[in-house]
C-alpha cells in the first residue's frame, strides 16, 4: 500500500486565517451596536454595501490575476477590510462613497500590490484617506446623535439619505445636521476644533450639547464598544497587546503632558481616548498585521508612532481626526522599523 508523505511538523494548532478574520468581525459587533444606537441603522446599509463591493472586487481581481477565486475569498480578509471602512465613514454618506472606497481599497491598495500579505498600506485607511481628500463634504457628513436631531431621521430616512442624499421628507444632510438655531452640529472633535479656532477654551467648548461629560455624546459609547471588542481579540490571541498598548499609551502620555501644560488649549487624555475613532484604530486598524511592523520591539514603536501622530494631527493639524493619516505614515516607516528592531537570535549575544 502507499503511504502519504508529508513534511514535518505533522501537527497544527488549528488557528486559521479565515477563523481569525471571522473573530475580528465578531469583535466589532459591540462598537457597531453603539453606532446603531446613536446614529441609526444607516451604518448597516454601509456595511452591506462595503461587504458586497469588497467581495465582488476581490473576486474580480483574483480572477484577473489568475488566482483560485473561491479558495482565496474564503480567507475573509476582504470582508474585514470592507467592514472596517464602512464603520469608519459617516453613516449617511452617499452610497457611492463606500463603494468607491472599498473598491479602491481592494483593487488598488491590496490586489495591485500582490494581494493579501503584500500590501504596504492598510487598505481601509488608504481608501479612507482617498475619500477624505477627494470628498471632504461627504466624508464629514456625520449626523448628530439621534437624540439631538432637529429633523429626526426615522423610518426609511437612512435609506433615502444614503441613496439620494435627502431624507424621505426632502431634508438634505446639511439641514439635518443643523440644530434648532440653524447652526451646523458636527462631531465632538469638529466642534472642539472649531471652538478652539474661534478662541474659546476647551472647558467652554465642552458645554455644547454634542458633548457629554467628557467626550462626544455617543462617541464615548462607541469607543467603549470597540474597546470591549479589542479586549476580546486580545483574549482570543487574535491580536497581540503591543500595538494597542503602545498606541494608547503614547496618545495618553502626550495628551496628558499637553493638558497639564495648558488645559485651555488641549483636551484631556480621556477626551482623546474616547473621541473619534481612537479605539477602532487602536484595536482593529493599527493591528492589521500585514501593514504593521512584524517584530515585537517594532510593534511597540509602530503603535507609539501612531499614537503620537494622532495627537499631533488632532492638536495642530488641519483635520479634526487623524487616524488614517497616522496609520499610513506609520505603514511607511514599517520597513525601517523592522530593519532596526530585528531580535537578537539565540547565541548571537555580543560578548558571549
Amino acid at each position: 500500500m502507499s503511504f502519504r508523505i508529508a513534511s514535518s511538523p505533522h501537527h497544527h494548532s488549528l488557528a486559521q486565517t479565515p477563523a481569525l478574520m471571522r473573530t475580528v468581525a465578531l469583535a466589532a459587533l459591540p462598537g457597531i451596536a453603539a453606532q446603531l444606537y446613536f446614529f441609526g441603522y444607516a451604518v448597516l446599509i454601509q456595511i452591506v454595501l462595503a461587504m458586497l463591493t469588497a467581495w465582488a472586487s476581490e473576486a474580480a481581481m483574483l480572477k484577473l490575476r489568475g488566482k483560485p477565486v473561491l479558495v482565496r475569498l474564503k480567507d475573509h480578509s476582504a470582508l474585514v477590510t470592507g467592514l472596517l471602512l464602512a464603520i469608519a465613514i459617516p453613516a449617511v454618506a452617499p452610497w457611492w462613497i463606500v463603494v468607491l472606497g472599498t473598491a479602491f481599497a481592494i483593487v488598488v491598495v491590496k490586489q495591485l500590490y500582490g494581494g493579501l500579505g503584500h500590501n504596504l498600506f492598510n487598505p481601509a485607511m488608504a481608501a479612507y484617506v482617498l475619500l477624505l481628500i477627494s470628498y471632504p463634504q461627504q466624508m464629514t457628513s456625520w449626523l448628530p446623535p439621534t437624540q439631538l436631531q432637529h429633523h429626526a431621521v426615522t423610518g426609511a430616512d437612512p435609506i433615502c439619505l444614503v441613496f439620494s442624499g435627502y431624507s424621505c421628507q426632502g431634508f438634505s444632510v446639511a439641514q439635518i445636521k443643523a440644530d434648532v438655531d440653524g447652526k451646523t452640529m458636527a462631531t465632538a472633535l469638529d466642534t472642539l476644533r472649531n471652538d478652539l479656532t474661534a478662541g474659546k477654551t476647551v472647558t467652554e467648548s465642552l458645554q455644547q450639547p454634542v458633548f457629554d461629560s467628557y467626550a462626544g455624546l455617543g462617541w464615548s459609547w462607541i469607543n467603549l464598544g470597540f474597546l470591549l471588542g479589542g479586549l476580546f481579540l486580545l483574549q482570543r490571541r487574535v491580536i497581540q497587546w503591543r500595538i494597542p498598548v503602545a498606541l494608547l499609551g503614547s496618545l495618553t502620555l502626550l495628551s496628558l503632558l499637553a493638558w497639564l501644560a495648558d488645559s485651555d488649549r488641549f483636551a484631556s487624555p480621556l477626551f482623546h481616548l474616547f473621541s473619534g475613532g481612537t479605539m477602532l484604530a487602536a484595536f482593529f486598524i493599527a493591528t492589521d498585521p500585514v501593514s504593521a511592523s512584524t517584530t515585537t520591539k517594532g510593534r511597540l514603536i509602530y503603535g507609539a508612532l501612531i499614537g503620537a501622530l494622532v495627537f499631533v494631527i488632532r492638536s495642530f493639524g488641519g483635520y479634526p481626526d487623524g487616524w488614517a493619516f497616522a496609520v499610513m505614515l506609520a505603514n511607511l516607516s514599517v520597513p525601517l522599523i523592522d530593519a532596526y528592531t530585528k531580535p537578537r537570535a539565540y547565541g548571537h549575544r555580543p560578548g558571549i
Partner: protein, 738 residues
C-alpha cells in the same frame, strides 16, 4: 548576588524565548508496560546509523554471527561499529531503503536470526578501575551514538578532557507522543545513574543536571530516588513546553547560558547526553552489551494497542506496527520520530535504527494533514514562538524570493527546524519546508562558489602558463632564427665557393672517379655536420624542449611523415620491382632533392627527378646489381627538410597529412589485416627525440614490409611527396616566424 553555580544549585530555572504547547498525548503509552515482540524473520542493519562514517565491514554474506558480534570495525574516530542484534546468518549486504527523510537506499546488512540468541563472549568492566581511554574505547566499540535523534558519536562527546562545568542529562522528551525515555527512567533509573557515574569519571563535571519535563511524574520520582545521596546529581523538573528538549534550549533553561553562534556546548563548559545514551553506556561498560536494542514508542489511533517496545535494531517498522495491531486507513501516514520533527516513511520495510525513538501511525483525524497554503498575513505568531528568536515571517518571504543574503542576515542557519512556527501559522504555510529548501540551496550555492573559485584559479594558472610558454617559444625561435641565419650565410658562402671551384674545374672536361667520390664524401660530411649541429641545437635548449613538448613532437611528426613519404616511394619502387635491394637507388632521389633545397623551386622538377630516380632504379634492378643500402642517405632527407618546415603552419599541415595518412593506412590495415597498425602507433606517439633517430627505424622496416596494399599506399605516398615538394618550393620567407 549568588554566583551562577549557586543559583543553579539552588534549583533556579530560566526560560527560553518562544515555544508552544501542543497536545502531549503521552498518557497513551507512558504507563503501559514495555512490550516485546517476537524475533522478526529478517533484520536490516544499516552499516551507518550515526553522524560520521561507516566502519569497515567485517563479515560477508553467508557468515554466521553471534549476538553482539561486531559487524563493522571502527577504523577511525568518526566511525562507530554496528553489531548483530541476535545470532544468525548474514544473508547479504545490499542497498536498502534508509531510515532517513529521503529513504534513499544505503548499504544495509540483512541478517536472518537463527533464534538461538547465542552471545559472543562478554567482558564486563569495572569503571572505577578502568583507565579513561579504555572506557572511551569501550563506548566506541559498543556502537553508541546519541539516541535523542542526532546520532553524534558518544565517545567523542564523552572524551572532552578539560573544562566541563555541567553534564546535562536530557530526559526532557518534549515532543508529543514520545515516552521512550519516560518509561526507560521508570524502569531503569538505577542503571541510568550508574551510567552517569561513568560519564562523571570521564568528564569530571561540577554538577550533573538531569532535566525532566513536569508531565512525567513517575520518571521524576524514580530518578530522584535513584539519585538520592548524590549531592551533585540535580534532578531538574522543567515546565512542559516544546521544544525545551532542544540542546540549546535546555542549556538556556537549566543554566541561563547561550551556546554562542557557530560554537558547541563544550565551548561554554557543557556536555549534554540523552538519557537513553547514558543507559546504553552503563550497559556497554558493566555488561558488555553493545547497542543492539532500544525502547521505541509505537503509538497512534490506527493501532489496537499503543505501547513502548524494546526492539532489536534492524527490526522493520512493519513488524513493530503489526505487533500492535495496525489497521491502516487509506493514505495512511507513518511517522518515524515525533509529530513535530519526525518524517513520514514511504514504506514499512524501513528498519528501526539507533536514533529511532518513536513510530506514529495516526488517523487523519488525530493529526490532520496541513491544509492548503495561504498567503502570509505577517501576523508574527511564528516569531512569538520561535525558540531561536528568529523572524520566520521574514525568512519565508526571503526564502520565496531566494534572497540568500537576507536569509543569512536573518540567521537562517540558526533555525533548528523544530516546527513551532509552522505549528502556529494560521495560513498553514509549511515554513520549515521552505527553510530546509533554502538551507539546501545555500549549501549548494556555497559549493558552486567554491567550485567557481577553483575553476577561476585553474583558468588563471593556465593563462599564465600559456603566456609563459608563448614567451619561451618566442625567445627560442628568435635564438634559432639567429643561428639559422648565420648558418645559412655560411652555407651560401660555401656554395659560392663550391660553385667557384666547379667553374674552375669545368674546363677539365671529365671528372675523375676519385673526384666524384670525394665530392660525394664532402657532401655527406656536410650533411652529417648539419645533422650534428641540429642535434646540438636540440640539446642546447633542453629546458625549452621539456617545457614545450608541443613544438618537438610536431617536428618529430613532420620528420616521421617525411620519412614515411620517402619510405612509400621506396615501397613504390618495390611494388613495381619486388626486389628489396632496389631501395638504395630509390633513396638517392629524395636524398638529392633534400640536399639541394635551393635548386628545387619547381614541383615539376621534383616530379621529374622522382621519375628519373624510379627509372634509374628500374634499370638498376634490371641489371640486378644489388648495392648495400646506405643508411646515411635516409637521415639526410629528414634532417634537411625540417629546416624548411619550421613554419608552424607548414608543420601543422605536414602533421595533419601524416595523421590523415596514418588513418587511411589504419583503415586499409583493418580491411587487409597487415602490419599497418605498427606504423600508425609510433606516428601518433612519436617520442620527443631528435627527428632522424625516429625516422630511420621507422623507414627501414617500412621498406621491407611485404605489404599487400603497398600499391595503394605508394600512390598516396607519392601524392604526399609531391605536395611536400610543392611546399618546399614555396617562397622561403615564412620559414622564420620570428
Amino acid at each position: 548576588m549568588p554566583s551562577l553555580f549557586q543559583q543553579i544549585k539552588s534549583g533556579q530555572l530560566w526560560d527560553f524565548h518562544g515555544g508552544i504547547h501542543p497536545p502531549a498525548r503521552k498518557k497513551l503509552t507512558s504507563q503501559v508496560a514495555i512490550g516485546q515482540i517476537s524475533l522478526p524473520e529478517r533484520l536490516y542493519i544499516p552499516l551507518r546509523q550515526h553522524i560520521g562514517v561507516a566502519g569497515k565491514l567485517l563479515v560477508k554474506a553467508g557468515d554466521t554471527v553471534l549476538k553482539g558480534q561486531a559487524l563493522t570495525a571502527a577504523d577511525n574516530a568518526m566511525a562507530i561499529p554496528v553489531h548483530a542484534p541476535t545470532s544468525g546468518k548474514v544473508l547479504s549486504i545490499e542497498a536498502y531503503p534508509s531510515a532517513h527523510p529521503s529513504a534513499l537506499p544505503e548499504p544495509t546488512l540483512v541478517l536472518e536470526p537463527d533464534g538461538l540468541e547465542q552471545w559472543r563472549p562478554r567482558h564486563a568492566l569495572d569503571y572505577l578501575h578502568t583507565e579513561r581511554p579504555h572506557l572511551l574505547a569501550r563506548i566506541q566499540q559498543a556502537g553508541i551514538a546519541g539516541m535523542g535523534g542526532a546520532g553524534f558519536p558518544t565517545h567523542i562527546k564523552s572524551g572532552a578532557s578539560t573544562g566541563v562545568d555541567y553534564l546535562i542529562i536530557n530526559a526532557v522528551e518534549c515532543e508529543p507522543y514520545i515516552t521512550a525515555d519516560d518509561v526507560l527512567m521508570q524502569h531503569e533509573a538505577s542503571t541510568i545513574v550508574r551510567g552517569i557515574d561513568i560519564l562523571c569519571k570521564l568528564l569530571n563535571p561540577k554538577a550533573v543536571l538531569i532535566g525532566i519535563e513536569d508531565d512525567k511524574p513517575l520518571a521524576i520520582t524514580a530518578m530522584q530516588q535513584a539519585c538520592a545521596g548524590k549531592a551533585d546529581y540535580l534532578v531538574r523538573v522543567v515546565p512542559a513546553k516544546y521544544p525545551s528538549g532542544g540542546e540549546k534550549q535546555l542549556i538556556k533553561l537549566l543554566t541561563s547560558k547561550e551556546v554562542p553562534n557557530g560554537r558547541r556546548p563544550l565551548d561554554i563548559g557543557i556536555v549534554m547526553q540523552n538519557v537513553g545514551t547514558v543507559f546504553a553506556i552503563a550497559q556497554a561498560v558493566e555488561e558488555d552489551i553493545p547497542l543492539i536494542s532500544r525502547i521505541v514508542t509505537v503509538v497512534g489511533q490506527t493501532l489496537q494497542h499503543s505501547q513502548n517496545i524494546r526492539a532489536l535494531i534492524g527490526t522493520p517498522v512493519g513488524a513493530l506496527l503489526d505487533a500492535c495491531g495496525f489497521a491502516p486507513e487509506p493514505q495512511q501516514r507513518v511517522i518515524m520520530g515525533g509529530p513535530m520533527m519526525g518524517f513520514t516513511l514511504p514504506t514499512l520495510q524501513i528498519p528501526l535504527v539507533k536514533t529511532t525513538n518513536c513510530i506514529i501511525a495516526p488517523t487523519r483525524h488525530e493529526l490532520p494533514a496541513a491544509g492548503p497554503e495561504m498567503d502570509c498575513i505577517r501576523c508574527g505568531a511564528c516569531a512569538e514562538v520561535c525558540p531561536a528568536v528568529l523572524l520566520p515571517q521574514q525568512l519565508v518571504w526571503y526564502a520565496k524570493a531566494k534572497d540568500y543574503d537576507q536569509l543569512k542576515a536573518h540567521n537562517l542557519a540558526d533555525c533548528i527546524e523544530c516546527g513551532a512556527c509552522a505549528y502556529v501559522c494560521p495560513s498553514e504555510i509549511p515554513l520549515v519546508q521552505y527553510y530546509r529548501v533554502a538551507k539546501a540551496e545555500i549549501r549548494e550555492l556555497a559549493r558552486e562558489e567554491l567550485k567557481a573559485e577553483q575553476a577561476k584559479a585553474r583558468f588563471e594558472a593556465r593563462k599564465e602558463r600559456l603566456e609563459r610558454d608563448k614567451q619561451q617559444r618566442a625567445e627560442r625561435n628568435q635564438a634559432l632564427a639567429a643561428q639559422r641565419q648565420s648558418m645559412l650565410a655560411e652555407q651560401q658562402k660555401q656554395q659560392i665557393l663550391a660553385a667557384q671551384q666547379r667553374q674552375e674545374q669545368q674546363p677539365q672536361e671529365t671528372l675523375s672517379k676519385e673526384q666524384i667520390i670525394a665530392e660525394r664524401e664532402r657532401k655527406k660530411a656536410e650533411a652529417r655536420a648539419y645533422q650534428a649541429a641540429k642535434a646540438e641545437q636540440a640539446e642546447g635548449s633542453p629546458a625549452a624542449t621539456a617545457e614545450t613538448p608541443a613544438a618537438d613532437p610536431r617536428a618529430a611528426a613532420v620528420a616521421a611523415a617525411i620519412a614515411r613519404a620517402k619510405a612509400k616511394k621506396q615501397a613504390d619502387a618495390v611494388a613495381h620491382e619486388p626486389t628489396p635491394a632496389d631501395s638504395a637507388p630509390a633513396e638517392a632521389a629524395p636524398a638529392t632533392t633534400a640536399a639541394q633545397p635551393d635548386a628545387e623551386t619547381d614541383p615539376r622538377k621534383a616530379a621529374v627527378a622522382a621519375a628519373i630516380a624510379r627509372a634509374k632504379a628500374k634499370k638498376q634492378a634490371e641489371t640486378a646489381s644489388p648495392e648495400p643500402t646506405p643508411a646515411e642517405s635516409a637521415p639526410v632527407a629528414p634532417a634537411a627538410q625540417p629546416e624548411s618546415d619550421t613554419d608552424p603552419r607548414k608543420a601543422a599541415v605536414a602533421a595533419a597529412i601524416a595523421r590523415a595518412k596514418a588513418k587511411k593506412l589504419a583503415e586499409q590495415a583493418a580491411a587487409t589485416d597487415t602490419s599497418a597498425p605498427d606504423q600508425t602507433n609510433p606516428d601518433q606517439t612519436a617520442p620527443v627525440e631528435s627527428a632522424p633517430e625516429v625516422a630511420v627505424p621507422e623507414a627501414t622496416p617500412d621498406t621491407t614490409a611485404p605489404d599487400p596494399a603497398a600499391a595503394k599506399k605508394a600512390a598516396i605516398a607519392a601524392a604526399i611527396a609531391r605536395a611536400k615538394a610543392k611546399q618546399q618550393s614555396k617562397p622561403t620567407e615564412p620559414e622564420q616566424p620570428s
